[in-house]
Every structure is written in structure tokens, then in C-alpha cells.
Symmetry: C2
Subunit: 385 residues, 2 copies
């Protein structure tokens, strides 16, 4: 055991890890909270759309993920307010809702399935013709044949959120160290700290592993639990004379590919997202950019005149059952808390994850709706390859 067993080390300063560190310090879960990341706020949290839209985001059959997402969405307004209050910074929460649209006749029935989902959750949704959809969002093009307005969905500016979480964490006393963690160390069946790339060791009584797709390499017991699922996004900006961007998040399926456009301030849109299972290869590909532009243009033709400001790729942390892994993974040392595997839902699930981490670190009961993400399920789950 290290000297300072009352220290909590959080590995990974994306939205999940920074939230975990902030919550740990805020709730006095430890004498000292250290957040370690070689490049805080980069990674999948930086390369994200920021949609808080669990139902239009859910794949068919992902009922448990949908429940987690709905539970987290319900927490988001209060979470956003708490982060803004604690940091004194905005997170850019948007409440204009989502408009899901289809351009192929064959996709129209998908909308009906989404409506069923929404009604099962007691949530509002309205079926629109193409013309009705264009009346609400004049940026939609003539190819749009039908739509679905989901007024309760939210969106957040992931980059503002990262900055606000970092400020909130530091105000609460979190110490940020910008260096790589090599491994979680253990002694007598319990975590003893982390080894840093510099050769130093940071003693800790509890280690929260929140390193997203990079988490699996930090301790042998985590091996295979999470894998990188590459995604590319583009950021575009309306120019003088351009057709204004939509005010709602627009989602569509074009040629079988899901595409979204999430509004940001300043006439900007985040377009996403591709999906590849190609390991830690961070290249933005020609084909990915071509598809994102072509698919989005089909739905929002005015973007042809927009400025292309940025293209970026990162790695969603994917798990075998597409659910996050939160808590003590069976077979890991005492004091090692997993907090990874949020897949393409990291921003959405952060509000719920905050409450889970608070419960794990303080011994309070786990929050409602979080059971599906419990690491205890891994006793029976087959790990991914």
C-alpha cells in the first residue's frame, strides 16, 4: 500500500474522468483528488457532437442503453446548471430538440419505430411530412421526405463542457497532472496507485479508470473490456450569404449511413459521425469526409457554401454489449473503479455517470436507472476481442 491511501487518482480527463474527479473532490470523497491525462480534454470528448438524444440515437434492440440514456437525459438540465454554477462558465446547453428526417422512402418506417420507442417512454414526438419539416427548418432540402420532431432532446457544446468541467474540478481542489499513466499498481489485492510515464509513482487508495478506449491497457484485469471505435467529425460554419443553419439537431439516415448536424453558436454545425473498427488509427480519411459531406448535403444542401473549419477523428470506447462499465469489475484489485465504455454516448451519459461515481466513492446507494452499466455484470459477460 502507498502512503497516501486517502488519495483518489482519476486516470483520463475527458468528460467522464473530469466529471469523476470533480464529483470526488466536491463530495469530499478523498483528502486529495488527482486527475492525470497527457492531454486533458482531447480524445473522444473533444471529437463529439454533443447530442443528448437517447432515443433517436439508439440502435434497434439496444433497450438497456436507451434506458440509461433516458435516465441521464432527465438529469442533464440539473447537471448542466451544477457545472455552470461550480465553474462560472457556460456549457452551451441547447433545448431546441431534434428533427430526425429520412430521404429514402424505405426509411420512413424507421420513423414509426422511433415514435413507438418515444411513446413507450412517455415522450413527445410529432410525425411531419417533408414539407412540414422544411417549414420548421428551412435549411432542409427537397430530398427530405418525412420527419420526426422530438422537442425534448437536448444538445451541449462538448468543448465548452470540457472547459467548464475542468474549471469546476480545479475550483473543487482537483490537482491536474498532464502526463501519461502507464499502469495501475496493486499490492495485496488492492490498488496502490499508478505508475507515470516519467517513472514516478503516484500512491492512491482508489483509482478511477476513465481513460475511454485506452482503459484496457491500464491493468491486466481490464484487458479486452474496451476497444477503440474510430469516429470522424467535421465542423462547418455558415458564411455571409449562406443559408442559415438549422436551429435543431438534425439527424438522418442517408444510404444506410447515420449522419447528424448539431448546431453550435456562431452559425456552426458539427457533422458526424463515421464508425470504423480499425484500432487506434487516428487518420481522417478521404472517404469518411466525402461521405459526411455528401450525406449532410443531401439533407442540408446549403452547407455546400459553408466553410469547412475542421476535420477530426478519435476513438469511442466500445464494449461487447455497448454499455458502459461503471464500478468494480469482478477480479480487479480493491479500490479500482472502472468508469469507461460509454461508446458513442459519452456526453449523454456523463450526467448519470456523475451520480454513479458519487455513489461509488461515498457508499451512497446507486442512482435509479444505472443498473445496466454496473461493472458487476462482467462476471458473466463475454469480453470483446
Amino acid at each position: 500500500m502507498g502512503e497516501r491511501t486517502d488519495r483518489v487518482v482519476v486516470v483520463g480527463a475527458g468528460v467522464v474522468g473530469t466529471t469523476a474527479a470533480w464529483v470526488a473532490a466536491r463530495d469530499h470523497a478523498a483528502r486529495e483528488v488527482v486527475l492525470v491525462d497527457p492531454d486533458p480534454g482531447s480524445g473522444a470528448s473533444w471529437v463529439a457532437g454533443g447530442m443528448l438524444a437517447p432515443i433517436t440515437e439508439a440502435w434497434p434492440g439496444e433497450r438497456e442503453l436507451l434506458e440509461l440514456g433516458a435516465a441521464s437525459l432527465a438529469r442533464w438540465p440539473a447537471f448542466a446548471a451544477a457545472v455552470e454554477q461550480a465553474s462560472g462558465r457556460p456549457v452551451g446547453l441547447r433545448t431546441a430538440g431534434t428533427l430526425a428526417v429520412v430521404v429514402d422512402a424505405a426509411d420512413r418506417e424507421d420513423l414509426d419505430r422511433v415514435i413507438e420507442h418515444l411513446r413507450a417512454w412517455g415522450r413527445d414526438a410529432e410525425r411531419l411530412t417533408g414539407r412540414e419539416a422544411r417549414r420548421r427548418e428551412p435549411a432542409l432540402g427537397p430530398a427530405v421526405r418525412a420527419g420526426l420532431a422530438v422537442p425534448d432532446d437536448l444538445a451541449v457544446d462538448n468543448r465548452l463542457l470540457l472547459a467548464a468541467l475542468r474549471a469546476a474540478a480545479e475550483r473543487a481542489g482537483v490537482v491536474v497532472r498532464t502526463e501519461p499513466v502507464v499502469r495501475v499498481t496493486e499490492s495485496d489485492g488492492a490498488v496502490s496507485g499508478v505508475d507515470l510515464a516519467s517513472g514516478k509513482r503516484l500512491d492512491a487508495g482508489r483509482v478511477v479508470v476513465a481513460a475511454g478506449a485506452w482503459s484496457a491497457s491500464l491493468h491486466p484485469s481490464l484487458d479486452g473490456l474496451v476497444r477503440p471505435v474510430k469516429g470522424e467529425i467535421l465542423r462547418v460554419r455558415a458564411r455571409a450569404g449562406s443559408l442559415p443553419p438549422p436551429t435543431r439537431t438534425v439527424r438522418a439516415a442517408v444510404a444506410g449511413r447515420a449522419v447528424y448536424a448539431v448546431p453550435r453558436d456562431g452559425g456552426r454545425l458539427v457533422l458526424g459521425a463515421t464508425q470504423y473498427e480499425t484500432g487506434f488509427d487516428a487518420d481522417v480519411t478521404v472517404g469518411g469526409v466525402r461521405d459526411l459531406l455528401a450525406d449532410t448535403e443531401r439533407v442540408l444542401p446549403g452547407i455546400a457554401d459553408y466553410a469547412l473549419e475542421e476535420s477530426a477523428a478519435s476513438f469511442r470506447p466500445g464494449t461487447a454489449d455497448n454499455l458502459p462499465v461503471l464500478g468494480a469489475v469482478p477480479g480487479t484489485p480493491d479500490g479500482l473503479l472502472a468508469c469507461f465504455g460509454h461508446g458513442r454516448n459519452g456526453i449523454l451519459l456523463t450526467a448519470l455517470t456523475a451520480d454513479v461515481v458519487a455513489a461509488l466513492l461515498t457508499g451512497r446507494p446507486m442512482p435509479d436507472g444505472s443498473a445496466a452499466a454496473s461493472a458487476s455484470r462482467l462476471a458473466t459477460l463475454e469480453v470483446s476481442s
Copy 2:
């Protein structure tokens, strides 16, 4: 008149201005040569393909530009060797030639016209079927219907060239000042120097205006002589497992748009170029990127898997007759030497421009083949709006 009338100031540190400054210092044309640019080596010289391919580049009917290009191409091998020797740095000259290809049947006759041009210049060219073209460049896709091999064309790495020219200039004694020039000043009908944005004045007996598209604002007598013609380029890179890039410069007309792919070291290609008359608007547009990718992919389908490393825009200096303006513009103060308006041929025409500048500054006779670029023609030329 300023104190130091033996000083030459060159405004603009792109390939043309840096070459002019180097030549001025090398040939002892002045006691001191100062090269002034707020951001040396940026601008159109940075955002370029580096093709040295006058004939496949020439638009129909641009006979004088073609002659200038041919005269400059002939000088390029010696110019490249001189720059490399003077700087101790490579310029990345490539001698693999150009392959011009067509994908639409209607464009085949364009190739015949280019062949006529080439033969009139005594230059080699070979008509190829699509299959023959693919045999030489396996990266070419099945859409390619015919081709034309131009073995004598060259290409240069514009960014290596910029670095080498800068080094050559500094070794020859050129002083580089990184600040904006506001205007060329005059006194009694002769230039007296330049006013800098800092409020300082730099005295000079001769001022070479080589600020590309920005040149027109530097003295009232230059107003309207040059305008910005925006161009966008992309840089892509073959990845592990990608189809290798072509070894030759590949040019094509796709859907009426000219596109080129110029090889660079490291499996890279520079793709270009769009063309817009929209003033000094440096945005890279979604539509521009979409067209460049789609058109290039039509010809080189393997790039879909390449990494998209960079997108950039800058401003070619366009003139009313598409020819550069070199020398004393009628009506300007004595000692003001224009050296701008190279349009989309700045890199190609640099070798000839070097000799023109040397002649202008030392009083030697103008080089053969340069007459069409003489600023003296502007006595009769209508200026562009």
C-alpha cells in the same frame, strides 16, 4: 529621397519575392536587400501544387502565357540546382512527367488539341488508351478513357522550395523583416521607401512589389492591376494498405472542372485546385472540398482510403490578360518595380522571373521569352475591375 537610396526593399516573401530578394543580393544589385512580409512563405506560394507543366496547364488561346511557361520550364533544372546549391537544401524537383487523362468521351478531343500544342513546341507527348494509361499508373481508375503522357514536365515541392529560397536569400545577405507593408512611398517622382504597419519607414532607392494578389493596394498607380483569384487545395496521404499514389503528376478534366494530383514524398498528393472570384475570402468551402475529392476519386479511386491531412485556400494574383506584370509600370514612380500577377503559374514562372529581376536590377538585357510579361504593356492594357 531617403538616406539609403542604395537599399532595395522587396515587398512579399512568396516564391517570387524571395527569389527577387535572393537574386538582388546575389548579383550585388544593392548595398542592402530587405525582404518584408508579415508571414513569409505563406499565401499562394504555400497553397500550391508545384506543377511545372505549362502546356497541360494552359487554357485554350493563352499562347503568350504558354510561351512564358515554356521559357521558364526550360530554365527550371538550372534554377533548381542553383537554389539547392545556394541554400544547401533540397527543392524536391520531380522529373516523372505529367499524365493528362480524360474520363468523359467528349473530352477526348481536348487531348488532341494539347498534342498539337506540344508538337508545335517541339515537345514530346504520347497518346494513350485508358488501358495503357492504367498500365503506367496503376492508381488510375476504370473511368479513365484516354490519356496523354508528357514526359518532359517537371514538378517541385513548393514548400521545400520556399524554405530553400529563404535560406539562399539569407545566406546571400538578405534581411527578412516580418511585418506588414502599408504603402510604397515616393518623393519627387521616385520611390523613397515603404511605410511599415508599425509606423516605421524603411528608406529605399528601389522597391520590388512582389506581394501577389495583395500588390494592388501598395501604391495608387498599381490600383486594379491585380485581383485575388481564390484557390483551394487538399493534401492527402496514402496509408498502410492503401493503393500507392501515382508517380507522375495526374491532370484531368472531370465534369468540366480541372483537377490535378501532384505527388510528394511520403506517399502524399497535393490535390487542386478550385477557382473563385470572391475577393479576399480565405474560407475553405464544403463545396470546394467535395468537388476536389469527388473529381479526384473519379480518376484515382484509391484515395478514398487515404488520410486527409490538410485543406487550405489562398489567392492567386490575377491580371486582366492572365500574364504577370514584371518591371516598371507606366506612370509609377522611378524605382518601383512590379513583380506580380503570376496567376496560377507562380511556381512555374519563378525561374524566368529570377532572370527578369536580375536584368531589371542590374541593367542587363531582358531574358529571351520574357517580353509578354513586361509591365510596359500596361500603357495600353485595360485594367481589370
